[in-house]
């Protein structure tokens, strides 16, 4: 079993749709949860960072963490064509010196 599971998609939605992206994980030591956006052949761009369980909202983006279920989500409201990218979840624990474990990434296309 992979430490972090993420459905690679691809996911295609019409402009304006609400997008839901998800990851599950198996390592209960993970406490820090990140979502990155990556355009082709570019570096990951941090979108959201959450510590432990709960919700965090930033503009059109909402991150949710449910540690009891080992499940995290990223919601994108009013999706735009510019949101088309690969979305990576990443996680780390407090004792592993900053090592983040990434999911495989979900490729999202938002069609005008």
């Amino acid at each position: 079993q992979k430490e972090v599971e993420q459905d690679p998609g691809p996911l295609s939605v019409p402009e304006g749709a609400i997008v839901s992206l998800n990851c599950t994980y198996s390592n209960s030591a993970f406490q820090y949860f990140m979502w990155y956006r990556q355009y082709s052949r570019k570096g990951p761009e941090l979108l959201m960072y959450t510590y432990s369980s709960g919700n965090k909202e930033d503009g059109r983006f909402t991150a949710q963490v449910d540690k009891s279920s080992k499940y995290i989500s990223l919601f994108i409201r009013d999706s735009q064509p510019s949101d088309s990218a690969t979305y990576l979840c990443a996680m780390s624990g407090s004792t592993n010196a900053g090592k983040s474990t990434f999911g495989d990434g979900t490729t999202l296309t938002v069609k005008p």
Partner: protein, 113 residues
């Protein structure tokens, strides 16, 4: 806005040669990382560096690899005797503390021929 910068953006090298990938982390960050991403695969952790020493490394980071912070601003990854399978995007990242968010550079695409 502060950013992590990496040079070169693309490096082509012959198998068996040594390469040095360079990074300038964000200036007030204390933790530095190298990750790699083989084409079509996920981002993989290589090494973390704090207080002038390696704090953690993955099984990928074997004796072929080394890191160094030669001065107050640069952070380098050296790959000795490159192999074809070292071809990948190499990302440098930096952060302010353990478990905090890491900010990534745009990467160096290494092609070993």
């Amino acid at each position: 806005e502060p950013e992590v910068t990496q040079t070169p953006s693309h490096q082509v090298t012959q198998m068996g040669q040594e390469v040095i990938l360079r990074c300038v982390p964000i200036s007030n960050h204390l933790y530095f990382y190298w990750y790699r991403q083989i084409l079509g695969q996920k981002v993989e952790f290589l090494v973390s560096f704090y207080n002038n020493e390696i704090s953690e490394k993955s099984e990928i980071f074997d004796d072929q690899f080394s890191v160094e912070r030669p001065d107050g601003s640069n952070f380098t990854l050296k790959i000795r005797s490159t192999k074809l399978e070292d071809s990948a995007m190499y990302f440098c990242a930096s952060g302010t503390g353990l478990g905090t968010e890491a900010f990534f550079g745009q990467g160096t695409r290494l092609t070993v021929v």
